[in-house]
């Protein structure tokens, strides 16, 4: 913290109290409840519950649909990160170079960031509907598109819907990262290396590493949690459970299936995954990058 601080016996608690109070009631209470659910078993009629140890966890590990959701979530976050990251970087590099129209490009590429995932899902719904859908017709003519039976086609559907708006976020952060690179570094590198492409990969891209890793985390978090609205307005997990993310499955099992034990165990598994990603970020990535 700061070297110079206020010394006081009580006023710091006045400043901390509002947030701590809200967190305790609306965050810690539900989290404790989640843990309690995860370790108890409710009987089918909801009359009573008993301590179940790790039964709920054993149950989800023996459930093949949990692994389907796990597999899908991993593939989905990987592909979304790859697609949105590379398109965002490509566009940011171009926008950073052009002399004219920079701010117009910037404004027009930024605003889809503000659109809700659920709205994007509803829009994608129209483009992939059998009746009106332009993309449905296009893909159908190419190879016989049928997302509610074919897993590959359903993947394409949710990947396009999920990637689209996230390109904007990647573009914003890459552009800001590029603009933060010192002009003199770039000018010096022009003298040493004439090839544009080589200069990008040897000078610019390594300097963008902090932004890149930051965006990887942002994109993974987006694919894990924010895509809920997209899945719920597009495939609803079809075909079967093939396009259910872990969060979506926990919601369906808990809220629709009323299996609180399983939902609680699934939530705790997700917390562990997020924790691992965060530790990985701090330990390995933050340590290995040099911020100037």
């Amino acid at each position: 913290m700061k070297k110079v601080q206020f010394k006081s016996n009580y006023s710091q608690y006045f400043f901390l109290a509002p947030q701590l109070l809200i967190l305790l009631i609306f965050l810690y209470w539900p989290i404790i409840q989640t843990f309690r659910d995860a370790f108890t078993m409710q009987d089918a009629f909801g009359f009573g519950s008993q301590f179940a140890g790790f039964d709920n966890f054993l149950f989800i590990f023996s459930d093949p649909s949990y692994f389907t959701a796990f597999k899908f979530t991993i593939i989905y976050s990987f592909i979304i990160t790859l697609i949105t990251g590379s398109i965002g970087l490509l566009l940011a590099v171009q926008a950073n170079k052009v002399m004219h129209g920079k701010s117009a490009y910037k404004t027009l590429l930024i605003w889809p960031y503000a659109i809700a995932p659920a709205v994007v899902g509803v829009m994608a719904n129209y483009f992939f509907s059998e009746r009106y859908g332009l993309l449905h017709h296009l893909f159908n003519n190419l190879w016989g598109f049928n997302w509610y039976e074919n897993v590959f086609d359903a993947y394409i559907y949710v990947i396009i819907a999920g990637s689209w708006k996230q390109i904007s976020a990647n573009f914003i952060f890459f552009l800001a990262g590029l603009q933060a690179i010192q002009k003199t570094v770039i000018e010096a590198s022009i003298i040493d290396c004439k090839s544009n492409i080589r200069r990008f990969w040897t000078i610019t891209f390594p300097l963008l590493m902090p932004t890149t890793f930051f965006l990887i985390i942002i994109n993974i978090t987006y694919a894990f949690f924010d895509t809920f609205g997209i899945i719920d307005t597009t495939t609803i997990g079809a075909p079967g459970s093939e396009t259910k993310t872990l969060v979506y499955k926990a919601y369906i099992d808990g809220f629709k299936g009323l299996d609180l034990g399983s939902a609680g165990a699934q939530s705790i598994m997700m917390m562990i995954i997020v924790l691992v990603i965060t530790i990985f970020q701090f330990r390995y990535i933050e340590g290995k990058i040099h911020y100037n």
Partner: protein
């Protein structure tokens, strides 16, 4: 000459990017200005029709929902109240908490720090069912407080403000202390004015975040009176062009805010880095 070619390539790639980002929305918008009959026979449209005013005014004022108890206008009002509430509450509590963490010697400081920041690992989606149970125990289902409070229970904003405070030179507090300024005065007279850009950026971020909430309002509002725009999308019934018009209108408030305040938003977010 090579300069000309490379700049043409830059503009070409950017234009493709623009097409990808804008054409989908344009098509939905163009289609929303046709009658449903026309859409049903001819599919999505690329050119504008002449039903713009008809469609949009019908959607805004028509009673919809299962029980016909709510208009789109009311949904916009609800979303606006929810988003403003979330943004205001987050900014105020986070600004204060970050101040308490950075500028004071606090007993158990590490513990309180973790108590606040560990919450970043637990988004609302992970505690949705227990949160609902807690809210119904507190009698907050179907209230604005119920929509706002759990979403404001987030440490993201605290994290931003903490980073920002740490970048402020220590000399400021030293000088203020010499003048005999107390902690409340220092907060109000020095820190808040200094954090203006940051406050604006966090407010915009939280407003868009709050407005775009989908799952929580879906669960929390069993009464149609509290439906928000984003959840209205899924539950609204109506003809196809009504739904197109509704989709377009639903994205207007956050998009306008981002377009007009983008400079402030980006400045604030990157002040930290």
């Amino acid at each position: 000459m090579t300069k000309f070619i490379s700049s043409t390539i830059n503009h070409f790639i950017l234009s493709i990017g623009l097409l990808i980002m804008i054409v989908p929305i344009w098509i939905i918008f163009a289609s929303s200005t046709h009658s449903s009959l026309f859409i049903n026979t001819n599919g999505l449209q690329f050119f504008l029709g002449d039903n713009f005013i008809d469609n949009y005014s019908r959607v805004l004022f028509k009673q919809s929902g299962f029980f016909n108890e709510i208009t789109a206008l009311k949904m916009f009002f609800n979303s606006f109240v929810m988003a403003t509430g979330i943004a205001t509450l987050s900014v105020i509590t986070s600004l204060m908490a970050a101040y308490g963490l950075v500028y004071f010697k606090v007993k158990y400081a590490t513990f309180i720090f973790w108590l606040i920041f560990i919450t970043l690992l637990v988004p609302l989606e992970l505690r949705i069912m227990p949160s609902y149970i807690v809210m119904s125990k507190l009698n907050l289902v179907n209230t604005f407080a119920g929509l706002i409070l759990p979403i404001s229970a987030s440490a993201i904003a605290t994290f931003f403000f903490r980073q920002f405070y740490k970048s402020i030179p220590d000399e400021l507090l030293e000088a203020a202390k010499l003048d005999g300024t107390n902690s409340l005065r220092f907060f109000i007279d020095f820190l808040i004015p200094l954090s203006r850009t940051m406050i604006a950026a966090v407010f915009i971020f939280m407003f868009v975040f709050g407005y775009n909430q989908y799952l929580w309002p879906l669960i929390m509002t069993t009464s149609e009176q509290y439906w928000t725009v984003v959840m209205g999308l899924k539950t609204m019934y109506g003809s196809i062009s009504d739904r197109f018009a509704f989709v377009i209108m639903s994205m207007i408030p956050p998009v306008i805010i981002i377009i007009f305040l983008q400079k402030l938003f980006i400045q604030g977010i990157f002040q930290n880095k």
